[in-house]
């Protein structure tokens, strides 16, 4: 092959990904860009830990520390955890329900590009004066006081754009799961990860609009002379706190419910046993989501809402431990009596239970409003939410990466390297964050860039920093594993040999149309059922025929790019003459491409029966 031909290949692949509306490729895009942001957020975490390795350190001082700290939190939540969750939803959910694609393939691509440009915009701040420095919660009193540079504007506009993408993604998955299930796939036969995606999407739908509104207010106040949070003109900063946490608390469940879903799949698969208490798992998921909306003010116990409000939110928060406990016991009982295979994903799953339970226990401690006055704004809180987010969500994302990598890319990851990653990460995680509980109880405040010697905080902080480097090493091993997997063992359809759900019934990676014939689902764990009856394939629900596919489109990219341009314009409109015209130009690009999308008919195309047969033959031989 000549180099020219190869170069053409690269361009074609790039164009393919820029215009794709295929949920499997969008999953790749989410995984790669979420992964890059995860590395970025991890690097920021390392910088924080280096600064705090010894007292009076001067590695990152004052303002710069605030920027790194803010960007670490913001990046990890919005640009790493969320898109990585979306990567697995996209890769797996349509396959698990036996669908050929999501309900809105075009919107799916739009959601990704909005997230992507929002994230890029936010990170542009590093090169344009300074990053946001008011914390990931960006409390209005701090955000309005941050006047040295445009950092906080990058925060409001960047999150606004990527938040729009998330909302679109949420609606898409709700409709996909309600309307696109294969014949026989009733709600109570859906795999737990699909259930988690369904409930999470509902949370996204109702939790993101308050964030949108809060961000609009903050943008108005900072860039357009608004007075929502300006006490001098009658504004009230507490409004931001309410809007942010009405979003922010459900956000925790938006992240952790898919994590629960991933682990439910892994426990059942590698215990080679049906998930224990399936219907109570569904019930617990829905109940957690419902209660998740009732507890936001537990982040605000020290605001001064009064004893009655504090008591109500305190009790409501504690009740969430009940459905979560149901889940923990169901996972334990799934393993009990199972024939357990300790693969890499199963390592994470087993380690997740004690790690996450610790995060849950400190959560109940924090929920006690009176005690919270002591813990508030200390490293105890930092330890708590890292136990929940890392011990729950990141463990699940790493587990999911190892578990579904063969399905997404057609190659197995190396198990030995996978286990090395696990042990390094597991040890590093507990080393970093366990000690932080005690640092917090000893009085170390969060978000402060240094501490003094002689207060008993040296050893703890040093241990914590060492732990962070273990996690960094684990990440490096994972990256090596990914690189060598390109030449690794090819994955069969049922990559782990114990697959229970529909995604393991089709080739790895799946053909563009997923299922040549839509499957007939005859119960929970449909592939397992068929295998137990001695069959190798699913029972088809339809004859082989032409398959309708959506057209690729470059418009999602342009629409999102327009908002990216507009955000730049509006950020600088106060001090420059070009700001306003650029902002308007950006909006014109976006609305113009929306107009094109509306007036140009898009009927999609058909893959003919003969082609499908040919592709299936090739897939079977590969």
């Amino acid at each position: 092959m000549s180099t020219i031909a190869r170069k053409k290949g690269v361009g074609a692949v790039l164009w393919d990904y820029l215009t794709t509306v295929d949920h499997k490729k969008i999953a790749h895009l989410y995984l790669i860009s979420g992964g890059i942001f995860f590395l970025l957020g991890g690097l920021e975490a390392l910088f924080i830990r280096i600064q705090l390795a010894k007292p009076n350190n001067d590695f990152l001082v004052g303002g710069l520390y605030n920027e790194v700290l803010t960007m670490h939190g913001t990046t990890m939540i919005f640009l790493a955890a969320m898109p990585l969750v979306f990567a697995f939803m996209n890769a797996v959910v349509p396959l698990q329900i036996g669908a050929r694609d999501v309900a809105f393939p075009f919107l799916n691509a739009l959601g990704f590009w909005l997230f992507f440009f929002g994230g890029v915009f936010l990170n542009c701040s590093w090169f344009l004066g300074g990053a946001p420095d008011a914390g990931w919660t960006s409390y209005a009193s701090l955000a309005l006081d941050s006047k040295a540079h445009h950092g906080v504007d990058f925060y409001t506009l960047g999150l606004q754009i990527s938040g729009l993408g998330t909302l679109i993604g949420g609606i898409n998955f709700l409709v996909t799961i309600i309307n696109m299930r294969a014949p026989g796939m009733t709600f109570m036969r859906m795999p737990m990860f699909t259930w988690a995606t369904f409930v999470t999407s509902a949370l996204i739908l109702f939790a993101f609009p308050p964030l949108t509104v809060g961000l609009i207010f903050l943008m108005m106040d900072r860039l357009f002379g608004g007075n929502f949070f300006n006490p001098a003109a009658g504004g009230n900063t507490i409004i931001w706190e309410h809007l942010f946490w009405v979003f922010g608390h459900p956000e925790v469940y938006i992240l952790v419910l898919p994590a629960f879903g991933i682990f439910s799949e892994i426990f059942a698969t590698f215990s080679r046993k049906r998930l224990f208490g399936y219907s109570s798992m569904v019930f617990a998921t829905v109940l957690i989501a419902f209660l998740g909306f009732m507890v936001w003010a537990h982040h605000m116990f020290t605001v001064g809402m009064g004893p009655i409000a504090n008591a109500i939110f305190s009790v409501a928060t504690m009740t969430i431990a009940v459905p979560t406990g149901i889940k923990i016991f169901n996972w334990l009982f799934t393993m009990w009596g199972g024939s357990i295979k300790f693969t890499t994903p199963m390592h994470y799953a087993v380690a997740f239970i004690p790690s996450f339970v610790m995060g849950g226990v400190t959560g109940v401690m924090l929920a006690a409003a009176a005690a919270d006055y002591q813990y508030h704004d200390s490293y105890f809180v930092v330890a708590h939410f890292h136990y929940v987010i890392v011990g729950g969500v990141v463990f699940a994302l790493l587990a999911g990466t190892h578990y579904w990598w063969p399905k997404m890319f057609g190659r197995m990851l190396n198990e030995t390297l996978g286990k090395i990653t696990f042990w390094l990460f597991f040890i590093g995680f507990h080393l970093t964050f366990f000690i932080q509980h005690f640092l917090g109880l000893m009085g170390m405040p969060r978000r402060v860039f240094t501490f003094l010697p002689g207060q008993g905080l040296e050893t703890g902080n040093f241990i914590s920093t060492v732990g962070a480097f273990f996690m960094a090493a684990a990440t490096v091993v994972l990256l090596i594993n990914i690189v060598i997997s390109v030449k690794g063992e090819k994955a069969p359809a049922d990559a782990w040999g114990d697959g229970r759900t529909l995604e393991w019934a089709i080739a790895s990676p799946p053909p563009v149309y997923n299922f040549a014939q839509l499957p007939l689902v005859r119960g929970l764990d449909p592939l397992w059922l068929e295998k137990m009856e001695g069959k190798k394939e699913l029972t088809p629900a339809e004859p082989l025929g032409d398959i309708h596919m959506p057209n690729s489109s470059f418009l999602p990219f342009i629409m999102s790019f327009g908002l990216f341009v507009a955000a730049f314009g509006f950020t600088y409109h106060q001090e420059t003459a070009w700001g306003l015209p650029v902002g308007i130009l950006g909006l014109l690009i976006t609305f113009g491409s929306m107009f094109l999308r509306s007036v140009i008919d898009d009927h999609g195309f058909h893959i003919h029966k003969e082609e499908v047969l040919e592709l299936e033959k090739k897939g079977a031989n590969a």
């Binding site: 309900a103 809105f104 909302l167 609606i171 898409n172 709700l174 409709v175 309600i178 309307n179 696109m180 739908l205 109702f206 993101f208 609009p209 308050p210 949108t212 509104v213 809060g214 609009i216 207010f217 108005m220 106040d221 357009f224 002379g225 608004g226 007075n227 929502f228 300006n230 003109a233 009658g234 504004g235 009230n236 409004i239 809007l243 009405v246 107009f595 509306s598 007036v599 008919d601 009927h603």
Partner: protein, 206 residues
């Protein structure tokens, strides 16, 4: 049923907006979107209620709001919701011309509403009630202005659909589009009922 099928009044389905899978998806997806929009407006209303008395020395709602113009705007918008129902009624009966006519009337009434709102804002600014003058001003213009922006977007949307499909009539590809646009229009109308009550009526009673 297939999207590109040629249809007659006899073969046109009773619920054309949900006759294809694409239509079904659009129908459900849009209802869900309106659920999200409801939360968006709820957040705006909550903020307005928290800030409506923080006039920072400027005029209060009681002093500003004039019943005649707001009542007229309300009547225009409520009527436009009714005319869009007629449009959808004719769509279901596969009568394209009448559907266009009623959507045309809807757009005119909506444009009338928008004109009155712009005039109203213009007046307020002259009386010293600006976006930047107080927390009340910020909250008022954001709530009512977001609704107004929705009206403007809805007008352009319906107009685009009418012009784009003027020559080819109804089919199962564009019927869901018209239907969803009319859903959006009703939603705007419902939000206005709340704005009329919470902002204007409660504002005038004090």
């Amino acid at each position: 049923m297939h999207v590109e099928e040629k249809l007659t009044p006899e073969t046109f389905p009773a619920a054309p907006e949900r006759a294809t899978l694409e239509g079904k998806n659009k129908f459900l997806g849009f209802w869900l979107f309106l659920g999200g929009e409801t939360v968006l407006f709820a957040s705006l209303f909550a903020t307005y209620l928290a800030l409506k008395d923080k006039t920072n020395g400027g005029p209060s709602g009681e002093e500003l709001f004039q019943m005649p113009i707001v009542f007229m705007a309300t009547m225009l918008l409520l009527t436009s919701s009714l005319t869009s129902v007629y449009a959808i009624y004719h769509m279901k009966n596969f009568d394209f011309q009448k559907m266009q006519l009623w959507f045309g009337i809807t757009v005119l009434l909506g444009a009338g509403f928008l004109a009155l709102e712009i005039y109203e804002f213009y007046e307020y600014v002259h009386e010293g009630h600006k976006f930047t003058s107080s927390a009340f001003g910020s909250a008022f213009y954001t709530l009512v202005g977001t609704h107004g922006a929705h009206v403007a977007f809805g007008l352009l949307w319906i107009l685009t659909l009418m012009i784009r499909n003027a020559k080819r009539g109804l089919n199962l590809y564009n019927a869901p589009k018209f239907y969803v646009a009319s859903l959006y229009w009703h939603f705007i109308d419902v939000v206005w009922v709340f704005i009329f009550t919470v902002v204007y009526l409660m504002g005038m009673v004090g």
